[in-house]
Symmetry: C2
Subunit: 315 residues, 2 copies
């Protein structure tokens, strides 16, 4: 297949690129390098089947040219900065919703028929059903990030219906692993590197979250793309477990050999719009034969080891 | 209260303006007159408590000035042209989603804290539960119109959470009544006026739809605004019944005294993204004490009489 990956130089994007190259596909990476890192594409760039385009999704001329003739668009580019959404209330709309429309419109005009999209468990808001299935009760949005991803999902579904496209929508829990660059593990790692004796934690530490290793995530996406061929295919991607932030702190401190004094910001939520409990029902993707190879504790530990081995990421 | 109504010169907007003026409020109408009609505001313009602003929601300077200091924003302006959405795939995003963001951002900057929003039963896509309640299973969008309204709902909820606003989201069935300007009754009325012997019907005529008279709708909105004071208040607004398109054709033909030959376009849906069955569960709004005064048949007949008495509307 000829595959275009947007956000190709990001955490998930670069892992997706490597996986598709390993399968023998022809892959074009599209990234504006606002947060992407060229070094994440180091191995990809050794492949003759890989092309890199440095461009923004707001540059519709370049986007249209990149999309035309592809068999599959894996649209991962996004503002993934959930926590500070309220400080720049237009950013999620621009980068996550309108840029997704740009991708869809380029597909329509260029005759590209398949899209895979990285959505988020945040679209469930603060659900009342746990684990939360794909057909959970109609959610109320709590964050600009979640709202922007929900809006993008809606556009993708409407385009699939109107213009005969095929869509795969993946609602991720938080991902961990190689090339991880933001989130609580990086935050704690940085803090403990700079002052091993103290750790500041947002919220009360009792937030319950689910995590998935990026390798397991990419395997799940590839399996869904191969086996689920409806018009709109929505999948939760996560593990069948969750942990408290405090559990994660324990694993990280243990690995780093530190015993910091912990100061909690307080409150059930880490920030406005944070969901105090994320735990997705993943029976649908499991029914295709996938299951995660790594547990949350292992994924956290691998991430810490990756950050230790790659100091440039947290420099 | 000081109330701003966007889309004030439209079908629903002008009815809302009249109702709030009758209650003694100070009302500013905002409309770009792309589809609004000045004559719908004829009685409003006799009130000293009414001000009309001719402006576009894309003109953020004018919008910000209009929003600042209002107690309530009733945001009804929208592209309501559901049927031809696939011909102009950016229009719903621009007019329904991004313009809603403009309104929310004007509210945030101007310190306005309450918004009422006209959403649609189309956000349920093609539901599997009938009548469809507000917390129906997470829907898959089928139309650009539905997707754009869902996106607007998400933005409203996220703003309510992030910036302490109060939101009322109303998911309407199709409305009928005075100042109705588009939809199947106008379409059939026009056709039968021009050639009483034949009628072209989209789909197979068996589409099941629910309708609500605009007067009942406006009463429901006012009641919800008064009695439901949560952060986000979502209400379906409809009648506890539905009819087939063929039923409606019978009532209209009977009233007009015509017996046309009917040609069906065929298929379950009137157009791409049309939902063949819309029937909303309205127990939530009914629990506040509201109930519709008019049945669907009466609403259709009143609409035909209105169109007969106001030939300019279908000129």
């Amino acid at each position: 297949m000829k595959i275009l990956v947007t956000g190709a130089a990001g955490f998930i994007g670069s892992n997706v690129v490597d996986a598709f190259l390993a399968e023998g596909h022809e892959v074009t990476g599209y990234d504006n390098f606002s947060t992407g890192r060229l070094e994440f594409l180091e191995s990809a760039r050794h492949s003759e089947r890989f092309t890199l385009l440095e461009a923004d999704l707001e540059d519709r001329g370049k986007l249209n040219a990149a999309v035309a003739g592809r068999d599959l668009i894996v649209h991962l580019a996004a503002n993934a900065d959930v926590r500070f959404g309220t400080l720049h209330p237009r950013k999620d709309l621009d980068q996550n919703t309108i840029c997704t429309w740009n991708v869809l419109e380029a597909m329509r005009q260029g005759g590209a028929g398949r899209i895979a999209f990285s959505s988020t468990g945040s679209v469930y808001g603060e659900p009342e059903v746990f684990p939360t299935p794909e057909d959970a009760p109609f959610p109320v949005q709590r964050s600009l990030y979640g709202a922007s991803k929900l809006a993008a999902e809606g556009l993708i579904c409407a385009y699939a219906e109107a213009y005969g496209m095929e869509a795969h929508i993946f609602r991720f829990v938080s991902l961990l692993g190689e090339r991880y660059t933001h989130g609580h593990v990086v935050d704690f790692f940085r803090q403990l590197r700079d002052h091993p004796d103290r750790l500041h934690v947002l919220g009360n530490g009792k937030q319950r979250k689910s995590y998935l290793h990026v390798g397991d995530c990419v395997r799940a996406m590839r399996m869904a793309l191969e086996k689920a061929r409806g018009k709109v295919n929505v999948f939760n991607l996560g593990t069948d477990e969750y942990c408290e932030v405090n559990d994660s702190i324990g694993w990280i401190c243990n690995l780093l050999g530190v015993s910091p004094t912990i100061a909690y910001g307080g409150g059930e939520r880490g920030w406005i719009g944070d969901s105090p409990f994320i735990f997705l029902d993943c029976r649908k993707i499991r029914s295709l034969g996938w299951k995660p190879e790594l547990r949350i504790k292992e994924a956290v530990e691998l991430t810490v080891r990756y950050l230790q081995a790659n100091p440039a990421v947290t420099a």
